[in-house]
């Protein structure tokens, strides 16, 4: 896990043959690190003004393929607004948002076809089974999955086999998150956004989710994750950014910051004191 999270920072000088020397489970991750990493999610000078308050102010942010970006911040900082803008559910007041080069505002349908979304509490149809939910949401995204493909997808997302054919109404939150990840996998999206995915999960389920998120990145997806959980974010993400009152106040490479430094910087910035963490803007 830790090795994978650091691969994005290794320079291989385009030596593709190096990848062949690696075990298969590492090849995909390494191959992404060998080519210039394409920016999949890009926000430029984004302003989001709601009546009475400015939710985002000149936000600039980018997430490359194979990277996980953790967007941290207190309640009301603008994390969910950012997620809604990236998914095209909101239109920015100004600025631009691109998914794999597609303008989210100009071509929302094309952009949405490239992006998958996992919310804090994945909302599935309770009367359907895990398999039926995945098949339905995949069908809506234009992919028709047969039952073996569906089961394989749920397996990849980590949902235990005996739950596949059970109605989702009996699922735990962690299980629903896994179906949410399966929906993202089945969509063959190029970017995934997660809104507080570990909120309310027990440590084991939260860890399991982090592993799955890293696997998504290892498959070349760009992951943008909004979170409250500093420590889980530092563990899961390649980059963490701190959003305070609609402005990105700091950005760190996760590997370069210790938990306690991150917490201190977070508290400093959130309480509107001078930034002290590395990479403070």
């Amino acid at each position: 896990m830790i090795i994978i999270s650091h691969l994005g920072n290794i320079e291989f000088n385009n030596d593709a043959h190096f990848a062949e020397l690696l075990p298969p489970w590492l090849r995909t991750a390494v191959s992404y690190s060998l080519v210039p990493q394409k920016i999949m999610i890009e926000l430029k000078d984004v302003v989001m003004q709601f009546p009475g308050h400015c939710a985002l102010n000149d936000l600039n942010l980018s997430v490359s393929a194979g990277h996980v970006y953790g967007l941290l911040g207190p309640n009301g900082a603008g994390k969910s607004t950012t997620i809604n803008l990236v998914t095209g559910l909101l239109k920015p007041t100004s600025g631009s948002i691109h998914i794999d080069g597609i303008d989210v505002v100009a071509e929302p349908e094309r952009a949405r076809s490239l992006i998958a979304y996992v919310s804090e509490s994945v909302a599935l149809y309770p009367h359907l089974t895990g398999i039926e939910n995945l098949q339905l949401f995949s069908k809506l995204a234009g992919r028709q999955l047969d039952t073996p493909e569906t089961k394989a997808c749920l397996d990849r997302a980590g949902l235990q086999k005996d739950a596949h054919a059970r109605r989702v109404s009996a699922y735990s939150k962690g299980m629903r998150q896994k179906v949410g990840l399966a929906i993202a996998l089945a969509k063959e999206a190029r970017a995934v956004v997660l809104d507080e995915p570990s909120s309310g999960l027990d440590p084991s389920a939260s860890h399991d989710l982090a592993v799955r998120v890293r696997e998504l990145a290892a498959e070349g997806l760009a992951v943008l994750m909004a979170s409250h959980d500093l420590f889980r974010a530092r563990e899961t993400c390649d980059t963490v950014g701190l959003l305070v009152r609609g402005s990105l106040r700091a950005e760190w490479e996760a590997s370069e910051v210790k938990d306690r430094d991150l917490e201190a910087a977070y508290l400093d910035l959130v309480t509107d004191q001078a930034p002290s963490g590395k990479g403070a803007k």
Partner: protein
Amino acid sequence: MILALFSNEWRSILRDGRGRLVITLGVLLALVSAWTSASTHASKERAQAAAVEAARCAWEDREVDSAHSRAHFGDYVFRPSGSMSTLDSGLQAVTGRVVFTEAHRQNDAVHKPQQAAASLLRYDRLEPSTVLQILAALVLVLAGFGVISSERESGRLNLLLIQGVSSRQLLLAKTLALWTLGVALCLVVVGANLILVDDVDIGRIAAFLGLHLATLWVVAALVACISARAKRTGTAAALLLSLWVAGAIVIPRLSAMSTATLDPLPGRDAFQAAMQADRQQGIDGHNPMDERRNELERKVLKEYGVSSREELPVSLGGLIMQADEEYGAKVWDKHFGELEGHLLRQDASVGKFSFLNPFQATDRLSMAIAGTGLNSHLEFLRQTEYYRRELVRRLNEEDAFGVARSENGRLLRTTTKEFYLSFDSFEYKPLALGEMLGRRTTDLLALALWIFGASALLILTARQMEARRVS
């Protein structure tokens, strides 16, 4: 995509215990209403057939009496309820279907001018039209109040939109799912009717089905739109139930009561008194002291060139009776015309509420299609009166001319039994469907506006959903 969402909605309804309960109750009510209406209709038809037969036998078996006696003996006129009354009995329960026809008077036992317009509306009977107009709408409300709002509240709406579903597709799929629930109820009702009732009128049944499918489309679209616009599912439920109560119960009664208050019908006694007063201005065929009668007698004597009624080759009584009858017909035409105009004016006033309430447009059109509404009843009264006049005219003429003078100058009747047997029984000719609907253009226009408005609201709501913030 729409098909996938549509199928999922149906699966959701069928797998949900509340959905199954609502559907089961709806289907049960539909079946019970179809069965009770069909069995009631069958028993009424049997009773009416027996009554028609008895009346005919009484007419035919009666000893050969004088035509004038026969005119007072009279005849019963029956209006067949028609097979469509099993779907919508309309005003038949209020207005009745039997009239006793006789000389000198138009019996109004089955037509009650004192009845207020409120009586011309009915939502208190369990019959197929009530089930489809009122209860099917309630089923759609109960099944659909959360059809979009619950998607938003649960957070699924965002996931659906990101998966590529457009608001328009979502709204259309949900509306279609709700509407097909209504379609299913319509098919149950009409299917049961086709099985249980003989002598069905396919054209009218198709029109009846089309009418209710159109209304349920309006209901389904409104339910989906309100569910989409409401911030919370509870709000949508409260608003939709309030609208249902207003449309099904409050507005129909309000419209009837306001019409009856602002433009009241004359009371029965007042109506009869006015008729009587006018009638007294004419010839009194039974009063030998009546001056107008004596004037007619002089005129007839002059016409036949004789000096006394004993010399007349005809029965003066028959001629006087016919003159009396013709005058009475004019009086009836005047008063019934005024009453009919009044009823139609009230009906038009109530009809304006169709623009406010689609249930009222549907109710009135449903009665028109079934041939059980106000226009049909007035047409029945008109045909009954024409039948009565023709019956009495022939009897009066027979009374006047079916005579011969005996050698001693006595007037002998020559009427035979064959003469009485030559009378055909009354046969009601219902107005054609096109003609009935032609008299309901206001309601047709109102329903068309409701369909257009509800569909436009769907499009508008979908656009607003696209534009709405989801934070």
